[in-house]
Symmetry: C2
Subunit: 243 residues, 2 copies
């Protein structure tokens, strides 16, 4: 039976790299990079290129890409888009190509590149994603992007929520997945309230994500499955999603 493992921080990723090329990885940066990417695909973006620096995004801008850049929770000065899902409307991103750099999420995507397939994680398409992973049937690594290498609750809660769905056909390997599932069960009745409590130190306020929180926790408003391959995020073809 396929296994589910959870990486709680990019600084722990190296412990899970053995056999990575045979695993599916789900990169999780709920507030907000991977959620925003899924919103963008739901709203018709044609492709997204995650890059490491605002400078690289600016270079792609000269080649017809919309340039999006976020650092420390804020849109980088001079860039059209940041990291807020509210900015990625159909009007602004439909049929466009976007180059994007964010503090944690894009780095985790690049770190995962050697995996069999790299999925972009979000609550907005969690059931469709779980279904795809269960149909594929390979071992799954849930990779929490965290915050500057530290553990964070929102990514871990999503890992727990997804792991719980994957239990329909997979088995848990290791304590981090068990912890994620139990934390999700504690929080699931009121995810937003739980995270507000968790953020009492003001992290969300300082990241300007308070107004994004509800969007980032909304479940199953999309069935589109963005995957990262050869440097580009595209939609998984309908055919291969149902092999």
């Amino acid at each position: 039976m396929a296994k589910i493992e959870t990486v709680l921080s990019p600084a722990l990723f190296h412990l899970y790299e053995e056999g990575l090329h045979e695993k599916n990885v789900v990169v999780i940066d709920i507030l907000r990079a991977t959620t925003t990417m899924c919103v963008a695909f739901e709203n018709g973006v044609s492709e997204m290129v995650p890059v490491s620096t605002p400078e690289e995004a600016a270079i792609l801008h000269t080649k017809g890409y919309i340039a999006a850049a976020e650092r420390h929770g804020e849109t980088v000065s001079g860039f059209e888009l940041g990291n807020s899902p509210q900015d990625y409307t159909r009007e602004r991103v439909g049929n466009k190509k976007i180059a994007i750099t964010t503090t944690n999420g894009t780095r985790a995507l690049v770190m995962s590149a050697a995996a069999k397939r790299v999925y972009v994680g979000s609550f907005i398409h969690i059931s469709a994603l779980a279904e795809t992973l269960l149909k594929d049937g390979r071992d799954v690594l849930l990779f929490c992007a965290g915050w500057k290498d530290k553990f964070n609750l929102e990514d871990t809660l999503f890992a727990g929520a997804l792991a719980q769905k994957l239990l329909a056909g997979m088995t848990v390997e290791g304590d981090s997945t068990l912890a994620a599932i139990d934390l999700y069960q504690t929080a699931s009745a009121d995810l937003a309230g739980y995270l507000q409590k968790a953020s009492h130190v003001g992290r969300f306020k300082s990241l300007h994500v308070e107004s994004d929180l509800d969007i980032c926790l909304r479940m199953d408003i999309s069935t589109k499955i963005p995957v990262f391959s050869k440097g580009v995020i595209n939609l998984l073809h309908h055919e291969s999603a149902h092999i």
Copy 2:
């Protein structure tokens, strides 16, 4: 107000080293190194020297120390003691000096050496330890030794249990401590049962810790406070514990 932070793995420790010399660190290796150390002090050991290798322990053996060595959950062949608290009886360790090397716990102690004070964590003296930390009043770093750099539940549950007691006079900083507290609240009604569930993959069986589990989860059977300083674990003097 003093802050409580939690390090979920040695591989994340570097993220918390800023200002370490002004913090108290609690090193946590519940199964079993730090529990066994606390049992040894309750049973009258005069000092313990954590060393990195069985060879170093063997050298100290020639200088009058009992040599204890554990690797991958087992007593290293040829050594008098391993890592099971059941071996550290008053008859065997009372008034003796012990050199000990273990897979995770001794390494975490050495990593913490620059802290203001390094405490040895265990459920068996959790209330006395909490009282000592609250009286001292400095920021506290709860350092989970983990298992070969991976997150583990038992160390995290102890961090949560201790953090909950410290909330009487301190405040939480960061999501890892919040997660630890919530996991402890989920598990606290039946810690042993919870960990048995967590260990369904057989980790405890392979570590031969099943018969030690009850001892390692027993609360408040000791009020002795072992601290690690200048390479040696000794009891905190009664006077300085009540400054």
